[in-house]
Symmetry: D2
Subunit: 255 residues, 4 copies
């Protein structure tokens, strides 16, 4: 019912793309441009999408950019350690205050995801061109599975397997199996503070997963789910610990 478009920032590490011919062949303009295009395709006028990358000042996530971002998507891998802690802390505060966050694939080991989860976020993995991922929909009817059938077949994908060291998700949306027999909790919803977080594992730098129709739709659905209308929700300044005199709420219904 909102008529404001969702302001989305697609963050990409953009490192493999520069160092690997193989990756460049699949994503010549970077993975972030393909992810951004997929969101635009599915949300249309409902979203305004821009990108930001590691090599930019403050990794492209200045106060101004973060302050005008409703939902941030995150893909990183080889350069997790190069993301500055000060930027991570700002993203963290924005999530607690209501910004949505979509963490993709190898982003499971990013500083921001581990900080929000409180666990190691470790998993098993295997790169093998013969691994097919079957992404099973275990929450039909959920906004994130809108338009998605019982299973998404990803023809080639890196294997991610359990045990995946995350807190139990608030909602389990997808569970994957791989040719080798492993399973993985591949679509997981979390809430931290006023922010919603969706982890979605399909999408590797050497496979064209982010061009696949269903994958684009899931990411666009997740953006819609994670969105919190800043105009209509009172801002709880949740990181303060306010002293509350008796009857404080009589005078004001708000914080």
């Amino acid at each position: 019912m909102s008529i404001q478009p969702i302001r989305v920032t697609v963050w990409g590490e953009n490192a493999h793309e520069k160092t690997s011919e193989t990756v460049r062949a699949v994503y010549p303009d970077g993975m972030h441009t393909v992810i951004a295009a997929g969101i635009r395709e599915y949300l249309g006028d409902g979203a305004v999408v821009r990108t930001a990358t590691l090599e930019q000042d403050e990794h492209g996530l200045t106060d101004e950019v973060l302050g005008s971002t409703d939902v941030l998507t995150w893909w990183g891998h080889m350069a997790h350690g190069k993301v500055e802690d000060a930027v991570v802390d700002k993203v963290y505060q924005r999530v607690l205050n209501g910004m949505g966050l979509i963490v993709l694939h190898s982003g499971h080991f990013s500083k921001i995801f581990r900080k929000l989860m409180g666990t190691s976020c470790a998993l098993r993995w295997r790169e093998d061109p013969n691994e097919r991922e079957l992404v099973w929909n275990v929450r039909p009817g959920h906004p994130i599975t809108k338009g998605i059938g019982p299973v998404i077949v990803v023809p080639h994908q890196e294997m991610y397997g359990e045990y995946f060291d995350i807190p139990q998700p608030d909602e389990q949306i997808f569970i994957s199996s791989f040719t080798g027999g492993e399973v993985f909790r591949s679509g997981c919803c979390f809430t931290r503070g006023q922010g919603r977080i969706f982890y979605f594992s399909p999408g590797h730098e050497t496979f064209p997963v982010y061009y696949q129709t269903e994958i684009k739709q899931v990411i666009a659905n997740a953006v819609g789910w994670a969105y919190r209308d800043p105009a209509s929700s009172p801002v709880f300044e949740i990181t303060k610990a306010p002293n509350a005199p008796t009857g404080w709420f009589e005078k004001s219904g708000n914080d």
Copy 2:
């Protein structure tokens, strides 16, 4: 992003209103009309709202009505036992197949809520005109608390207290306290099949709770949350247990 209005049916037992002067003084045209008006007020063109009551044929919940209802709200109390099992079974099937359900106040003891919960749904209670309910928002940022501050003050309300015999909610949205010291899980989200269920306890037949601004907003928010766009989601016929030959999903991505 949907442009289809949500089709809401407000179900009311409409029994206290006929037998009690006190209730009639507060809700002269029945509680269902006030609940319906509140949803219209907050959702505007985003919803088409009609009502149905116990005394109608099939309690107003014919196949045609249920088939064209996206979200059903339920208020009942003294006549839970008069709701026919055949109607309850139809509502139950519709919820599993994706219809949203908002259960209000004494609806905790309705046949449909107990059937969906799998528990007794018992609680403690006390009618006392001096009981004030404080409805605390423990999920700021959630769609159901859009526009709602830290606490809703309901000046007069029947006391509902723990232990409330429900399964642990998927999401806990509101927790109430009462003047006498009791607490109550007063806003609870559940999923059953493809349907979303919200239980919301404020709202008694002898108090004008359903005229209160914040209460109307919460119910309207819950309608939006429970809505599942029937056009964009594949229907899983989830109550069948299909035999699945090897590779069935190769031919078809759907059920």
Copy 3:
């Protein structure tokens, strides 16, 4: 720290065993005897285990038996419809009042499990001798996975696949994959009232799954987890809805 042995009743439909040579070859004295023996093997003096079957009076679940059962295990399949509603209602009340319940394999479609879940409990399935089940441990450290490594390999097993129509489990313990690529939430914890419920899917009538070491250990672990010491816990008569005069709890800390 309890020194009282856990009183376990293993309920078996015992129907396939009578009608099928194939089943009798695997379980000549009935599946229930093998399940009971496995619990005795792992819990030793910590449990007193008896069995009950469909053909007995009241299906072997008299008031006296249920009243002296701390944890009940349930295996049924072809005769779900023959279980009398009156017995189901008694088991249901006992679970709400604190009896543990372990539901095995095809018990997913039993009356008692569906009544406690509030959903259809439907799933996909395939009988194929070439299906291997890999049961992945997604909750290391949980009492139910005591002694269990990352994966249990069940060499031959009926395929059970998603979508499995259950409420989201309180805790997800195991997730399985099958040779054909399906996944299944094969170990799930629920609470209903004061009773704990564990659903565990491995174990088919034509495969010797209940003789397998890890499967026996998981079932024994689950019995320990579901146990609630009746001597040390106050009984909440949770299915009543008591009127609670102001200050009722001042006089008594209990129900």
Copy 4:
């Protein structure tokens, strides 16, 4: 069924006790000694309990102490900032690898709790000698509420109120109300890695809460719940992200 006693370490900041006459009057030998005595009283031979405090080398949490601790309890307040990050990191690793953690009262703002939660853990508060806390049992039948009735009355207690910025608990055990009308999620279970965490808010430095019978029992119950038998559970080295060649699990059922 374990015969090994649980090895408990009670950690206390022990700072208020040194600087405030008021606190010393209530807890002359430190709060940690009273908490430790309560656990010994309820667990008897089932536990070996020692204490550790901030002023000791490595805050009393050397590798040897942590390596031989099954469950750690944590009370801190005015000196959270003096706890060294290196110690916090070691405690964090031990929790992920299976050590239980009981966080008490103002420990909500400790470094270790915030690191494990991934949120600010902020709350509202008020010190007022006239505040009574009613701690309601919303999970009868759970091991942590063994022996506990519907409500624990704490005659004098600091008010802690919502919004409490934590992730949704895996299990909600207690919810409190205060004289001033606030509510608080006062007993919350979490899992991080293989470790179980229980947050329990009653217990302030100027009130004799840790001498109260029911409070001692809840803490002792929580120790039993958080315990994970190190002899019987395989250690998953969960913070590594192992490469897993195809079929790795065929040779070994373990990590």
